[in-house]
Each structure stands twice: as structure tokens, then as C-alpha cells.
């Protein structure tokens, strides 16, 4: 393991809890969040009383639309039986990451020492309308030209293949399918994952078309679920656990809501800026990251992450994916290899296989890293020794991105 210089933590995660992701027919969204929150509080080793929590930061995208409920703080005050400050952040699929970003600001400001961060979504209640609902994260002109989210990412994918695989290299298309296979493989040991079954490339290519060239198995699913974290100031971390996971970098960047209006169709500027800033904040490079949670809402986005984050050069992400998969000889996690850099992405299955209850996803990514860095990820635990993890959560097609870096040992 590379040694990194002494890092100054911003906050620490001392507890984490989540629900299973999937079609959770029998649960209301606020109950799912309460379940995750109670699990998170219960997981704190040295004990945490509810009265210790000074504020709550929630993230949810479609709560009002899917369940016709508003005022999340009011519902959560009821569920948790508390009267503390609470806020809900809506940033589409980036809601969870943004909620954590805001929680970090609350702690960094010195206002709070102990906060609860929660992300949740209940999407399956609107199965017939969810494709329309999700376009709330797009520009209305995109909706009015018939676009769906899959269609927007498919447009990125088409242009990416055209520009970087010269439109005819079948290995690029195969790489885009292999990402789904890899993430399903990673989810096999994840007891909470929505899908725990292996996929073959053939399965992906034979799945129904959604938006050419995206097929069903290139897509993350429609999911219900909730995740919660107990986040404390660094000074308080050891009071609650002997093994806190420190947040050492927390950055957010935004960009035009419309894909058309951005600098690039084959890259996410907000990811690039947030990642640049978080690496600068921590004086790290992508080579220092051992495990990453990438926002693989569609498989193309995982390739864009590799490039936008600087893990590899623009246009080479698909080759890294293809070559890494082809040369992999092991049986568990499939790392991406770029020269002397090695990165395991989406160790628990990512959005693709673990599930994507959109507001929960950004928090789930931190949950996964928290567990991985503590060696508590169960069947999904990466065999290598891990110390640094990165979480990448975006909203819409890149209107917002938050990136967090977590470490187990500060030195």
C-alpha cells in the first residue's frame, strides 16, 4: 500500500445502516429511512443515544412525486421522535451525496458535532410513470423532444463510441457490456443487493433495447431503499468507535442541467471539477485510491468516470475496462488496471446490481466504502488491504457531482 501524507479529516463516519434495495412493496419511504437510521445508530460501537444527534441531513429526489408527500423533516421528526434541525436536499440522483456534502459543511462550520445523514427513495410505487418522473432531472426541452434518461445517456454512448472507438471497434461495445457483468459479479456477495446473479455479455446483448444502443442490462434498476450514516466531527470520532472512517475530502461541482449546453457530450465537467478539487484538497492522485464507488447509472457513466476522474486519459476508459476484464484471472473483484494503477470500482455491485433508489445512492456509496475500509463488507469484502476510498455521485446527466474521499488510517 502506498503511504500518504498526514491527512486532516473533515468529519468521520462512525455508524452506518441500510435496507435491502429492490421492490419493497410493504414499506413507506419514511419507514425505510427510519429503519436505516435506527440501524446506523445501533451500529455505533460505543453507543449513540438519539439525543446525541444534533441535526439530520436527508437526500431524496422524487419523494413528493412518487408518494405525494412533502415536508420530509416533518415526517422524519415523527419517525425519529426528534425536534432537531432537519433538511432535505434534492439533487436528483445526486441527492444523497449532496446531503452528505451539506452535513460535512455543518460539521466543518463547527455548528454540529453529531449528525445523521440519510438517503432514500421509493420508486416502484410509480412503476408506470417513473420514466416520466425521472425526467424531472432533465431540461424540459429534453423531455419535450421525447428524451428519456436512458436516451440521454445513450446519446453520450453513441458519441463516445463514434469519437473514441471510431464507431466500429466492437471491443468498445463489449466493454460497455462487461461493466454490467463485472458489477453483477461484485454484487454476488452483497446481501442487500437488488440483483445477485451473474451476467454474461451475451445476456446483456440479448436483453431488450431501451434506447439504442442501451439495453435493459446496461441500466441500473428502478429501486426502493434507504441508507443512513452517523457522521461526527473528527474530534468526537473515537468517542463513538475505535475504527472511525474519516472523510478527508468533500467537494461538489455543478453544470448546466441540459446535456446539450455542456462543453462536452462525452465527459462530465462536474465530475472532473469535483474530483480535481477533492484530490487537491487531500493532496492525492487517483493512484492513491484503492476502491471507488462510481455512479454507474448506465454503464457508459462508469467509463466516463474513469476518464473524468483522471484515472485514465480521455477516450481510453473503454480499453482499460476491456483489457482489465480480459486479463483478469481471479475469481472475486475485478480491478481496473492502468499501468501501475489499480482500482476496484463498485465493489458491492454499484448502482447496476446493488440497486439505484436515486436519493439513497450517494449515501449507499459511502456506506459501502465505510464497510470496505473497516473490513466489514461480508461477502463483498475486497481481499486487498484498503485504506482510501472515493465516492462519486452525480445528478441528472451531470448537472451536479459530489465526490468524497474516505480513509481508515490518517497516516
Amino acid at each position: 500500500m502506498k503511504s500518504i501524507k498526514k491527512l486532516k479529516p473533515l468529519a468521520a463516519v462512525v455508524g452506518a445502516g441500510r435496507t435491502k434495495f429492490g421492490e419493497l412493496w410493504y414499506d413507506n419511504p419514511e419507514e425505510l429511512l427510519a429503519e436505516a437510521g435506527i440501524k446506523a445508530m445501533g451500529s455505533v460501537e460505543h453507543g449513540l443515544r438519539r439525543k446525541d444527534i444534533q441535526a439530520c441531513y436527508f437526500g431524496s429526489f422524487l419523494y413528493q412525486v412518487t408518494n405525494k408527500l412533502g415536508l420530509v423533516p416533518g415526517y422524519m421528526a415523527r419517525e425519529l421522535g426528534m425536534n432537531i434541525p432537519m433538511s432535505n436536499t434534492e439533487a436528483a440522483c445526486g441527492s444523497g451525496g449532496s446531503a452528505l456534502y451539506n452535513a460535512c459543511l455543518g460539521i466543518r462550520s463547527g455548528e454540529y458535532d453529531v449528525v445523521l445523514v440519510g438517503g432514500f427513495e421509493k420508486m416502484t410505487d410509480r412503476s408506470g410513470k417513473i420514466i416520466d418522473d425521472l425526467m424531472l432531472a432533465g431540461d424540459p426541452h429534453e423531455f419535450d423532444t421525447g428524451y428519456t434518461f436512458a436516451g440521454l445517456y445513450a446519446s453520450m454512448m453513441v458519441r463516445y463510441i463514434h469519437d473514441y472507438a471510431h464507431g466500429s471497434d466492437s471491443r468498445c461495445r463489449e466493454a460497455l457490456a462487461l461493466i454490467a457483468c463485472k458489477n453483477h459479479h461484485h454484487a454476488m456477495g452483497n446481501e442487500y443487493a437488488q440483483f445477485r446473479r451473474e451476467l454474461t455479455m451475451d445476456d446483456v446483448f440479448k436483453s431488450p433495447l431501451v434506447a439504442d444502443p442501451i439495453r435493459v442490462l446496461h441500466c441500473s434498476p428502478i429501486s426502493d431503499g434507504a441508507v443512513a450514516l452517523v457522521v461526527v466531527s473528527p474530534e468526537m470520532a473515537k468517542k463513538y468507535t475505535d475504527t472511525p472512517i474519516y472523510i478527508v475530502g468533500s467537494q461538489q461541482a455543478t453544470d448546466d442541467v441540459s446535456l446539450c449546453s455542456r462543453e462536452s457530450i462525452t465527459g462530465i465537467k462536474a465530475t472532473r471539477l469535483a474530483t480535481e478539487n477533492v484530490l487537491k484538497e487531500t493532496s492525492m492522485t487517483m493512484g492513491d485510491i484503492h476502491v471507488a464507488e462510481a455512479h454507474d447509472c448506465f454503464t457508459i457513466e462508469e467509463i466516463l468516470f474513469l476518464e473524468d476522474s483522471g484515472f485514465c486519459k480521455r477516450g481510453e476508459g473503454w480499453k482499460i475496462v476491456y483489457d482489465s476484464y480480459e486479463s483478469f484471472k481471479g475469481s472475486k473483484h475485478i480491478p481496473y488496471v492502468n499501468g501501475d494503477r489499480e482500482l476496484i470500482v463498485n465493489a458491492g455491485g454499484g448502482l447496476k446490481a446493488d440497486g439505484h433508489p436515486v436519493g439513497a445512492t450517494g449515501v449507499r456509496q459511502v456506506y459501502e466504502c465505510f464497510k470496505q475500509l473497516r473490513g466489514e463488507a461480508g461477502g463483498s469484502q475486497v481481499d486487498n488491504e484498503l485504506n482510501v476510498a472515493l465516492c462519486h455521485n452525480i445528478g441528472g446527466t451531470g448537472g451536479i457531482a459530489t465526490v468524497h474521499i474516505l480513509v481508515r488510517e490518517l497516516q
Partner: protein, 502 residues
């Protein structure tokens, strides 16, 4: 979408309106009040791309659409690049039906596209209908690109005291159905709308072409009439949509100093207003230079009705004025009686008709009387007329009534476009007149007689002028549209689905 939101979107979407920073040239869609780079130094100017040509940058065939677009089943959406200003906008590619198997969308990259005014979706059967020009078709397909270039009108005209047609535009949709039913008199194939078209979109496209053909400034069109019997709204005019899209009249705070109405008189809803248009431009206090008259219909017919084998879709727009007239309006004879041969009660979906009663006592009586009276008024015999154009519910009636009046095949045939596009109802006679103007020579006289059930006919005699020659290069002729090799045939079930939403 609420009515206020719709109105705000109309101001942007109908013209693809953007804002350009005059300092640095950056363009913003939708428009914004300052430039991201120039900040307080910004100098923003509104601009639009309604008459521009773009290229396809990327896209996807949407196989699982939102509920709002499920009526289209699957379609191609994409990002369009207007290269001159480096502007990208989202789009839907219209008039394109993707195959059921996966396609390589990258093959479309770089192809030129032309904006089209189409429906986006409807808010149910009783709600608003939304339109936009963020729909494009490929330039090398059925719908060509035409530049809208203004030409300063001549200050004097030989026919200054005699108004007439200054320009015209014909829009016939890309799709056709072949007539295989026996007993349809002479109608070989018919045009039909794509699923996102209706009478209002036909009217806009025809009007757009008329402006391009005339090369006049749209702000001097002070009145617009849209004649139709298939307007998408019972109350809420197509005319105001046409005016908003084409910017007819002088602009003022999102509206225009112009007026007009939708008119209804079965198939003569538009031609009835030719004389009114000509009269207006000659009226000293009118205050405008031009009047636009559009006849457009998605001609209605119940499934299996004999009409279901003759109806077509499309429209034609004429611009009337006094300068640079291509055909003077020399004679007008209306003839009207209360003859209930064809009707549709309010709230009913399809018209009913009196079968054989629509012939001799209705069509032949009114058309024959008006055309003969027009000839008599001008002291003309059929030999003085080069082309005769009659309303065409089929190919037999207009031919027979003309022959009975003494005309021969050469005078009748050029106007019998019903054979290839079907009966366009309010657009029938105007489109046939356009087909004749496409080939007429200066000095030619054209006798046009419309027919509207209920019933009435308007007979007009036009004289073609020298000005027609210079404008030909800007027209897309009716024959070009009839013969277009990119026209696409559909089966009966698709025809009914697209035409009637069945």
C-alpha cells in the same frame, strides 16, 4: 403543463429562440439575460434558428418512451448542432420510423437537419396541445432546406390597382397510402400526416414556404386566415399559432400587431377568403401590405366510409398583396344555397354525407353555376382560359364539371392533383391552384372554382404575371412533392393510427 407555463414555452420553442452575446459570440438556449463569460459586460441580443439548418451530433432511438410520447411508439431523439453559432439543442427527428431491431445511430452523425413545427404531445383528449420547432427532419430526406431571404418589394407595380397572389407555399406530408379499394374514382394514392402532425402544423409549414417563396418581410402580413374543417381545437384558433410561429405582423411584447380568424365552410373555408384578402390589401386604411390565406386539413373520414378512400392531408398558403403580384385576381363569383349534402355536428368525430345527393344537386350545381357565371362576367369562353381548377373530392367530379362547361383535358389535367394526394378538403382547391401556378406562364388565365358543402362555390379568375418567373426558384412545386422519391407508404392500420389516433 399549466397554461402560463405553456405560454412561456411557446415564446422559446416555436422559433428555437436563443440569446447571443454580441461581445464574445456565445449563444445560449434557452435564452438568458447575461453571458457567462462577459458578465456585466454582456450585450445580449435575441436570435432564433427557425429558418436555420443544423447537423445531427448524436442521439438515440427511444424504445421505451415517457408516457407523453408513447403515441409515437419508438422514435429518434438527438442533439442538433447549429455550426455557425456553435449552439446545441435537443431534438426529436420526425418523419422517421425506426426499424424494430437495433440501429447504429452514429450513421446519422453529421447529417444536415431542418427544423419542423410539430406537435410534441397532447395533455389528454381535452387538454392543451403542445407544439415546438425542436423537431427536425433530415435535409436529404423528403423535406429540403430553404433559405428565408427577404427581397425588397418593388416600389411600383404595373398592377398596383389590382391585387393578387404575391406568393404561395404547399405542404404535403411525406407519408402516403395507396388506394387499393375498387370504385374510387381516379384517386391512386393519398397523403397522410405523421403521428405528430395536424392541421395547425400543416398551416404553419405551408405558411413558412409561402413566406420563403414571396421573400417578403413577415412583419407586413397584417392578417391571416386559416380555413379548415379539422382544426385541432373547437375553440382556440390555429391562426394565432400560425401568427406566433411565423411572426406575422409587427412584434410587440411577445405578440404581434396582426389579426385574423379560423374559418369554416366545409371545403371552401379558405377560398372564400381570397376575395377578402385581396380587398383588404387594397383598402386604404388596412395599414398592412399583405394577407395570408391558408387552406389546410387532415381530412376526416370514418373508418370504412367511402370518404376513407379519398381523404388526404396537407395545406397550401397564399399571400395576397399589391406589389410583385404573380397572379392578379380579376374576377370573383360566389354562389350559395342551403344544401345539406355533407355535415358534421358539433362534438361528432366524423362528417356524414348524403351519398349520391352530394353530386348533381350539390357539387355540380354550385361549381357549374359559379364557373359559368365567372366566364360570363368576363365575357370569356373556355378557350380564353389556360387552366381550369376545381375542388376535387375525387378525380371524376372536377373533370366532369369542367368538361360540361366546355373545357378540354389539357386545361383540366394539371390541376387534378387529387389523384396523388387525395382530397385535402379546405386545402384541395388551393393546392390544385398552386400546382397550376407552378407551371403557368405569364399571361395565362386560370379559372378556379371551389366547393364547400352546405353549400357554396367561389369562382375566381386569375391572370399570371411576369413576376412569377423570378420566384420559381424558391418554390417546392406540388409535382416535386408528389414525385418525391423519399415519400413513404404505410399500411391501413398505420394510416388510421397516425391520422385519427386510433
Amino acid at each position: 403543463m399549466s397554461e402560463p407555463i405553456t405560454r412561456r414555452k411557446i415564446l422559446v420553442d416555436y422559433r428555437i429562440r436563443a440569446a447571443i452575446c454580441e461581445n464574445c459570440g456565445r449563444v445560449y438556449f434557452p435564452p438568458k439575460s447575461f453571458c457567462d463569460v462577459e458578465g456585466r459586460e454582456s450585450k445580449m441580443r435575441p436570435t432564433d434558428y427557425f429558418y436555420e439548418k443544423g447537423t445531427f451530433l448524436t442521439g438515440s432511438v427511444i424504445r421505451v418512451p415517457t408516457n407523453k410520447f408513447s403515441y409515437l411508439k419508438s422514435y429518434l431523439s438527438g442533439i442538433i448542432h447549429f455550426q455557425n453559432d456553435d449552439l446545441k439543442v435537443p431534438s426529436r427527428i420526425t418523419d422517421y420510423v425506426p426499424p424494430s431491431e437495433e440501429i447504429d445511430v452514429s450513421e446519422f452523425i453529421g447529417r444536415a437537419v431542418v427544423p419542423r413545427f410539430r406537435k410534441t404531445y397532447e395533455n389528454g383528449a381535452s387538454g392543451l396541445i403542445y407544439y415546438s420547432s425542436l423537431n427536425f427532419s433530415f435535409e436529404d430526406d423528403y423535406y429540403p432546406f430553404q433559405e428565408y431571404k427577404l427581397i425588397k418589394p418593388s416600389s411600383k407595380s404595373e398592377n398596383r390597382d389590382k391585387p393578387g397572389i404575391v406568393g404561395y407555399g404547399v405542404y404535403i406530408p411525406k407519408f402516403r397510402i395507396k388506394n387499393e379499394a375498387p370504385g374510387v374514382p381516379g384517386v391512386k394514392e393519398r397523403s397522410l400526416p405523421f403521428a405528430d402532425e395536424d392541421t395547425t402544423t400543416f398551416a404553419v409549414e405551408a405558411g413558412k414556404r409561402a413566406l420563403i417563396h414571396s421573400a417578403i418581410d413577415c412583419q407586413w402580413v397584417k392578417k391571416c386566415f386559416v380555413g379548415s374543417e379539422s382544426a385541432p381545437y373547437a375553440v382556440n384558433p390555429s391562426m394565432s399559432t400560425v401568427s406566433q410561429v411565423l411572426e406575422l405582423g409587427e412584434k410587440y411584447e411577445g405578440g404581434f400587431f396582426s389579426g385574423g380568424i379560423d374559418s369554416q365552410f366545409a371545403c371552401k373555408a379558405a377560398t372564400d377568403l381570397f376575395i377578402d384578402a385581396a380587398a383588404l390589401v387594397a383598402y386604404p386604411t388596412f395599414g398592412g401590405e399583405y394577407v395570408m390565406v391558408i387552406g389546410a386539413d387532415n381530412s376526416q373520414a370514418a373508418r370504412g366510409d367511402p370518404l376513407d378512400y379519398t381523404v388526404g392531408a396537407g395545406g397550401t398558403a397564399f399571400i395576397f398583396g399589391k406589389r410583385d403580384v404573380i397572379a392578379t385576381l380579376d374576377c370573383y363569383v360566389p354562389y350559395t344555397s342551403d344544401t345539406p349534402d355533407f355535415y358534421r355536428r358539433d362534438g361528432e368525430e366524423y362528417p356524414k354525407h348524403g351519398g349520391r345527393f352530394t353530386g348533381i344537386p350539390a357539387y355540380f350545381k354550385h361549381v357549374g353555376t359559379a364557373m359559368k357565371a365567372a366566364l360570363k362576367m368576363c365575357n370569356f369562353t373556355p378557350k380564353d382560359i389556360q387552366y381550369v381548377v376545381n375542388h376535387a373530392p375525387n378525380a371524376k367530379f372536377p373533370y366532369q364539371v369542367a368538361v360540361e362547361a366546355g373545357f378540354d383535358r389539357e386545361q383540366i389535367e394539371p390541376g387534378l392533383v387529387v389523384r396523388y394526394i387525395g382530397n385535402l378538403y379546405s386545402g384541395s382547391c388551393p393546392t390544385a391552384l398552386a400546382a397550376v401556378l407552378d407551371i403557368a406562364e405569364p399571361g395565362d388565365k386560370i379559372l378556379m372554382t371551389s366547393y364547400g358543402s352546405g353549400a357554396g362555390s367561389d369562382a375566381y379568375i386569375f391572370t399570371v404575371t411576369e413576376a412569377i418567373e423570378k420566384k420559381r426558384e424558391r418554390s417546392i412545386t406540388v409535382k416535386e412533392q408528389i414525385d418525391n422519391t423519399h415519400r413513404q407508404y404505410v399500411d391501413y392500420s398505420t394510416y388510421r393510427r397516425w391520422k385519427e389516433g386510433e
